[in-house]
């Protein structure tokens, strides 16, 4: 479990990772599994049967559940013991976040806002007094936290907020004035992390503000599409006087806090999609097994099997990549601590190292979950459209995942942007590999076949080529536009899509391989991986073409298109229909998600 990952953040695109360097969910310890099961037991008993209450905007119910999760220890899972938490590792906190989030987006959002963006700014940037004062209350659930970054005029452009913090003449306090919008947990929060600008600072600054402070008021609850019982309100600050000791981190350092909290928020959001996927797949299989049309269960129709198989495949891949990155972060934190960093610094830097992966996961997981919920509705037919069945709310709830914690557009651009920045700073050697791909394009293609005796030889060979496809497209784009490539958003989007598929494909191959190395049967996992592979290759080919068409012309375009064709070639065709049926038949036999 403590395998030292020597593949740093973003490096997956230029390095080959071995199966023994990644963590897979099959490796969770007995203790972690017990925690996950206890969390699921709680959800099955208290949350799932009461799903309808969330749709009736029962905010008090959400709050009471948050309090119960506090009693179970789920809110303080990642908070160190000296601050009243359990001090578990990063991936364990991911696992709990996964299992608590499956029944309803309302609780998922409330839990995420509290433990992620609510607690983390203090955990990562608070000084000793702040941590001792606030973390125990937040870890136990005695207090609920909220995170106030977004404003009516500052959404994606979060650093442009107009909220002001005016220092008092004696320097002992700040007076905060401004308007925050879309604040999760606002209605029942006891503590607000508020971002405001001091004087004409370039960046915003973070503050800890307690609920009772004079001058705080709230807008009405927003009338939302989904996650209806998660409280979302505007919060108004009118001359709210906050003692100077409640300044979080450094003056002018709030944007960094906001971004680092979001890094964690993003990977946690990926985790938060997972149990919703499992539950939707289970409900869908169960429904398909029981619903008869044309004298047979609809589960027996190929059109339905194909959906079930793709749903399972998308979830499996998402889960695989999420826990791979989660463990990479955990290992990185441990290794920073071993190098002498404080636990707080190590936690911060550990996540920051994998910021690219966090953004990749957020986008991919939220889109996979949207697909799964959508097909869930479809399998339920008319019942899927009825508010009496569980699919309708799942479909609406999942929609927010593509919007908050940075929209998927912002995150797509971030993935590529961060990668290029790392390359510029010399932290990631993209130039060398990109140049050698350029050279390879000019050479006669190699006719060496992958060694058929090694496991997943063909998939791995293809993976290597897909990485080349990315390097070719991104490399040429940077060559052409320099740093102005950031203005070519369409190209960045296409490049981001390529990156995401590559990271997930690699994770899938390594998981299947590692399951086999454990001596277990991975035949259906291999099926799912191959399904994903085929789809990934198609996506990468089409994203690559789109990018190439939009900036290369003439001979250059021809060479690049030929290169892309070479890099996205699959040697042996696979009977996808049979593969999907095998996966679906297993789900149907088990009558639940079972991988």
């Amino acid at each position: 479990m403590n395998q030292e990952s020597n593949v740093k953040g973003g490096e997956f695109i230029i390095k080959e990772t071995q199966a023994n360097q990644v963590f897979i969910p099959e490796e969770f310890s007995e203790e972690q599994t017990m925690m996950a099961q206890a969390t699921t037991e709680f959800v099955d008993r208290e949350v799932w049967p009461n799903k309808h209450r969330f749709e009736k905007k029962d905010y008090a119910f959400t709050l009471s559940l948050l309090k119960q999760t506090g009693e179970l220890g789920l809110l303080g899972i990642y908070v160190p013991e000296q601050y009243g938490g359990l001090g578990m590792g990063f991936n364990t906190s991911m696992l709990v976040c996964d299992r608590i989030s499956g029944a309803t987006g309302s609780l998922s959002t409330a839990y995420g806002a509290h433990t992620g963006i609510g607690i983390l700014p203090i955990l990562l940037y608070g000084n000793e007094e702040q941590k001792l004062k606030y973390l125990p209350k937040l870890a136990s659930g005695e207090w609920i936290g909220a995170y106030c970054l977004t404003e009516p005029g500052a959404g994606s452009d979060a650093n442009s907020g107009k909220t002001k913090a005016v220092p008092s003449s004696d320097g002992k306090s700040f007076s905060i004035t401004g308007q925050k919008m879309w604040i999760s947990n606002a209605g029942y929060a006891d503590l607000f992390i508020v971002f405001a600008r001091i004087e004409e600072d370039k960046n915003i600054t973070g503050f800890i503000v307690e609920k009772g402070t004079a001058g705080i008021s709230m807008g009405e609850e927003e009338d939302k599409m989904g996650i209806k019982a998660s409280s979302t309100r505007q919060v108004f600050f009118n001359d709210v006087v906050v003692p100077a000791e409640n300044l979080l981190g450094e003056r002018n350092g709030g944007f960094k806090i906001a971004m680092n909290a979001l890094n964690v928020g993003r990977i946690k959001l990926a985790a938060a999609c997972l149990d919703a996927n499992r539950r939707i797949i289970t409900e869908s299989v169960n429904y398909a097994n029981n619903r008869h049309q044309f004298n047979q269960p609809i589960a027996q129709f190929g059109a339905i099997k194909q959906k079930l198989a793709r749903m399972a495949m998308k979830h499996w891949i998402s889960e695989t990549a999420t826990y791979r990155a989660g463990q990479d972060i955990e290992n990185q934190i441990a290794s920073f601590e071993a190098q002498g960093l404080s636990p707080q610094q190590a936690k911060l830097k550990g996540v920051e190292e994998y910021a690219i992966e966090c953004a990749i996961l957020k986008v991919h997981a939220s889109e996979a979950a949207s697909y799964i919920a959508d097909e869930g509705v479809q399998i339920f037919g008319g019942m899927g459209y009825s508010a009496d069945a569980k699919m309708e709310s799942a479909y609406r709830d999942v929609r927010i995942a593509r919007i908050y914690e940075g929209t998927n557009e912002i995150n797509r651009m971030l993935t590529v942007g961060m990668m290029l920045k790392k390359a510029m700073k010399g932290e990631l050697n993209l130039i060398g590999p990109a140049m050698s791909v350029g050279k390879e394009l000019m050479e006669i293609p190699s006719f060496d076949l992958p060694d058929a005796d090694t496991l997943f030889a063909e998939e791995k060979d293809s993976l290597k080529n897909l990485k080349k496809a990315f390097l070719m497209v991104a490399g040429k784009a940077v060559e052409k536009f320099g740093m102005h490539v950031e203005e070519e958003q369409e190209i960045l989007m296409a490049a981001a899509d390529m990156l995401m598929e590559i990271y997930h494909l690699e994770s899938g191959i390594l998981r299947a391989e590692k399951i086999m190395a454990m001596g277990k049967d991975a035949s259906l996992q291999t099926d799912m991986l191959r399904l994903f592979w085929l789809e990934a290759v198609e996506k990468i080919a089409s994203a690559g073409r789109e990018a190439i068409y939009s900036f290369a012309e003439g001979d250059e375009q021809t060479v690049m298109l030929m290169g892309l064709k070479r890099f996205t070639k699959i040697r042996h065709n696979i009977n996808v229909k049979d593969v999907r049926r095998r996966v679906a038949d297993k789900l149907i036999a088990e009558n639940k998600y079972c991988f």
Partner: protein, 248 residues
């Protein structure tokens, strides 16, 4: 009060039951094992006794090392220590024979079991243990209180309930009612973390009593599709009953 709770390690109720190809045992691949639900009621009741009157709660299982996670879950829920008697629980009598020497040497005041183990549903162990020890035994117990070494137990009987008294030490086989479903405890995270520091003692098997042997398991025949006969077509019904079902 020194309490022992006997825990059977059983497949989760939603498991799909399959047998190994020789038909001689349960195929455990992919099956999740849990604390026998009846034993969870017993454990919770035992914890209430401890919390109200003091004392200790030990859990025991007769089984091989693969049952230890189930025992650790009982520790996470709140038991003080656990014992695993290292033997294959081949039948109810084997289990009972293993348990009696532990119970006799450790001098428990109260032994609470489940009414039935939901794997093989033998309902054998509690009665056998009581008989072998010659201790009082209350079966199908749905409520109990202890005062001054005397237990007042309510047990379910056909069409009603019976209240009985017995003096400790005694054996109780409990079920829902001893505590309610809502009282069952979900282990909290701290409990799970402390479970690894609580003692789990493995003691060797002391008896090799084997009274029965499993020859073959088979699944009940699947339900036949239902045939609908029009209400005014009595002849067709008779015909089916006679020629197909051979019932008349």
């Amino acid at each position: 009060m020194k309490i022992l709770v006997c825990i059977s390690h059983v497949p989760d109720t939603t498991s799909k039951i399959q047998f190994t190809s020789d038909g001689k045992s349960l195929d455990t691949t992919g099956i999740q094992f849990v604390i026998n639900p009846y034993d969870e009621f017993a454990l919770t009741r035992a914890l209430w006794f401890k919390e109200k009157e003091g004392g200790s709660v030990t859990v025991v299982n007769v089984g091989k090392a693969n049952t230890e996670p189930t025992l650790r879950k009982a520790l996470a829920i709140g038991a003080d220590d656990a014992i695993r008697i290292d033997a294959e629980p081949t039948d109810g009598f084997a289990v009972a024979s293993e348990l009696i020497s532990l119970i006799a040497t450790e001098k428990y005041d109260l032994v609470i079991m489940g009414r039935e183990s939901i794997d093989y549903n033998g309902t054998q162990v509690p009665g056998m243990v009581a008989a072998l020890l010659d201790w009082p035994f209350v079966n199908a117990c749905v409520g109990m209180e202890v005062e001054g070494g005397v237990a007042t137990c309510i047990r379910e009987i056909d069409g009603g309930k019976e209240t009985v008294k017995a003096s400790l030490p005694m054996i109780v086989a409990g079920q829902k009612g001893l505590v309610e479903e809502k009282d069952l405890r979900i282990p909290n995270m701290r409990g799970i973390m402390t479970a690894r520091t609580k003692p789990l003692k493995v003691i060797p098997s002391i008896s090799n009593e084997v009274a029965t042997e499993a020859i073959k398991f088979e699944r009940p025949a699947g339900k036949q599709a239902c045939k609908m006969v029009s209400s005014d077509d009595v002849k067709a019904l008779v015909d089916l009953l006679h020629n197909e079902a051979k019932a008349i």
